[in-house]
């Protein structure tokens, strides 16, 4: 790689791994960082300064549950002062009116609120948090009352996909602008729970039809984000818009990652903020260089006309399913592993789902 990469557009700031919920598909690594391992306020503030100087425009504050940190207000205010656009990715269960208003006053621009389903009892069971669903509904109303734009992130899988129509109704009722129908992605905790979560092909077909009809019915009212889940796809997703192209992720402990799941790939070396300038880590950090662009690609990616459309798909998924992060994402029908992926999905969905292994600090491997 001789040319300097274009600067990243967005930072995913994972402020903490602490979370009151225990979703079995959590995107955090299975080895969670405890509170004592989290970066201090000042370290996050200087991360934001480096991010703004690097050309980042938007910051997604995530976790764990980012509102579990009581310095979130100071961090959001600092982002606003630097001209960064702040987005809060939250489960909502720790929020109240005063806290939301305080965040909005300090410059928060948007809230993405997760839901575990549309049916309260089932949603609380999936999230492992009693009363969570009712709390989320209340928080969603507060967000729109305060006047902040709201996105509902509905994480869908085998055990709630049939509630999709009601989920759409909830998004409309709350006054959300956007609904992400987010099929679970199978890394980390979700990979461990895949057999309990992977939807059947029939469920997926119904869901796709539901979204298509709702998208027409609600044009100009609700924007849908919907991508067919990898295990039933023909072509891979453009994961992160390409490795090391648009996003960087910083973990609670300060590791600079090309994506939030990158630590699942063994053999990559990740650097920490503060060890050297963020701009340098982005430019020539070994983990960023490893799969940036197209030079790393094997066939069938290397000669594929879509190589700069999907960038070879997802490295974490390639690693999870084949043990080699440097092969074509098995979600691609051209991958020699594609049939295996599909038959794995057929097998796992043919039997009753096992119990969840809930996400907890200390419950990892």
């Amino acid at each position: 790689m001789t040319e300097a990469p274009a600067p990243p557009l967005a930072l995913l700031a994972e402020l903490t791994h602490r979370c009151p919920l225990q979703c079995p598909y959590c995107s955090n690594p299975r080895e969670l960082t405890a509170r004592s391992g989290e970066m201090a306020t000042e370290q996050w503030l200087s991360v934001l300064e480096e991010a703004a100087a690097l050309g980042i425009l938007q910051v997604h504050f995530s976790g764990g549950e980012p509102t579990a940190r009581n310095d979130l207000e100071a961090i959001v205010a600092h982002a606003e002062g630097l001209g960064l656009y702040s987005n809060l990715i939250t489960s909502g269960v720790l929020l109240d009116r005063a806290r939301l208003e305080g965040l909005a006053e300090r410059g928060l621009q948007h809230v993405q609120l997760s839901f575990q389903g549309a049916e309260p009892e089932n949603a609380d069971r999936i999230g492992g948090f009693r009363g969570g669903h009712a709390k989320k509904l209340a928080v969603g109303r507060l967000v729109t009352e305060i006047g902040l734009p709201l996105t509902i992130n509905a994480v869908m899988h085998r055990q709630n996909l049939d509630e999709l129509e009601d989920m759409i109704a909830i998004a409309v009722e709350l006054g959300a602008q956007r609904l992400e129908v987010a099929h679970v992605q199978y890394y980390g905790w979700a990979l461990h729970n895949r057999q309990a979560l992977l939807p059947t092909f029939e469920q997926l077909e119904r869901a796709t039809k539901t979204v298509e009809a709702a998208r027409r019915r609600l044009a100009g009212v609700l924007v849908f984000d919907y991508v067919v889940p990898d295990y039933y796809a023909r072509r891979p997703k453009s994961c992160m818009g390409g490795w090391g192209r648009r996003f960087l992720n910083i973990s609670p402990a300060g590791y600079v990652l090309p994506c939030h799941a990158a630590e699942t790939i063994t053999g990559l070396t990740f650097e920490r903020v503060g060890s050297r300038p963020l701009a340098e880590i982005w430019r020539d950090g070994p983990a960023f260089q490893r799969f940036r662009g197209t030079d790393w690609m094997p066939e069938p990616c290397a000669s594929c006309e879509r190589r700069e459309v999907d960038w070879g798909g997802c490295r974490c998924q390639a690693f999870a399913l084949t043990g080699d992060a440097a092969v074509t994402d098995p979600a691609c029908a051209l991958s020699p592993h594609h049939e295996d992926m599909l038959s794995l999905a057929r097998q796992e969905t043919a039997v009753a789902p096992p119990d969840f292994v809930y996400r907890r600090i200390g419950a990892g491997p």
């Binding site: 600067p7 050309g55 602008q177 044009a219 100009g220």
Partner: protein, 95 residues
């Protein structure tokens, strides 16, 4: 959003909360920062969006742009309406 916004000459468009018109110094371009997305504006789109101030009607914006670019009003009206309707459908503007 509760109902679809239809843009016509009498509409008074505005950028709602959560939409931010910004000059991106690093890339030397105008952008609208939006919830989990970003719209890069070309020169025409920037001329239109920088006229959106919550007080000017579409008709007034078109008059001003037609005069500034010395272009036929109906051509400008078509361009402005199409751009604003597209943005309204994405929630980028309210009216």
């Amino acid at each position: 959003m509760t109902a679809r916004v239809t843009i016509d000459e009498s509409s008074v468009p505005r950028l709602p909360r959560g939409m931010r018109l910004k000059h991106d110094e690093t890339r030397q371009q105008w952008v609208i920062l939006a919830p989990e997305r970003l719209f890069v504006l070309d020169e025409t789109a920037h001329a239109i969006m920088s006229s959106v101030d919550g007080t000017a009607s579409v008709g007034a914006i078109v008059d001003e742009l037609a005069a500034r670019f010395n272009a036929p009003r109906e051509v400008i009206l078509t361009d402005v309406t199409a751009l604003l309707q597209g943005f309204a459908d994405k929630g980028v503007i309210a009216a």
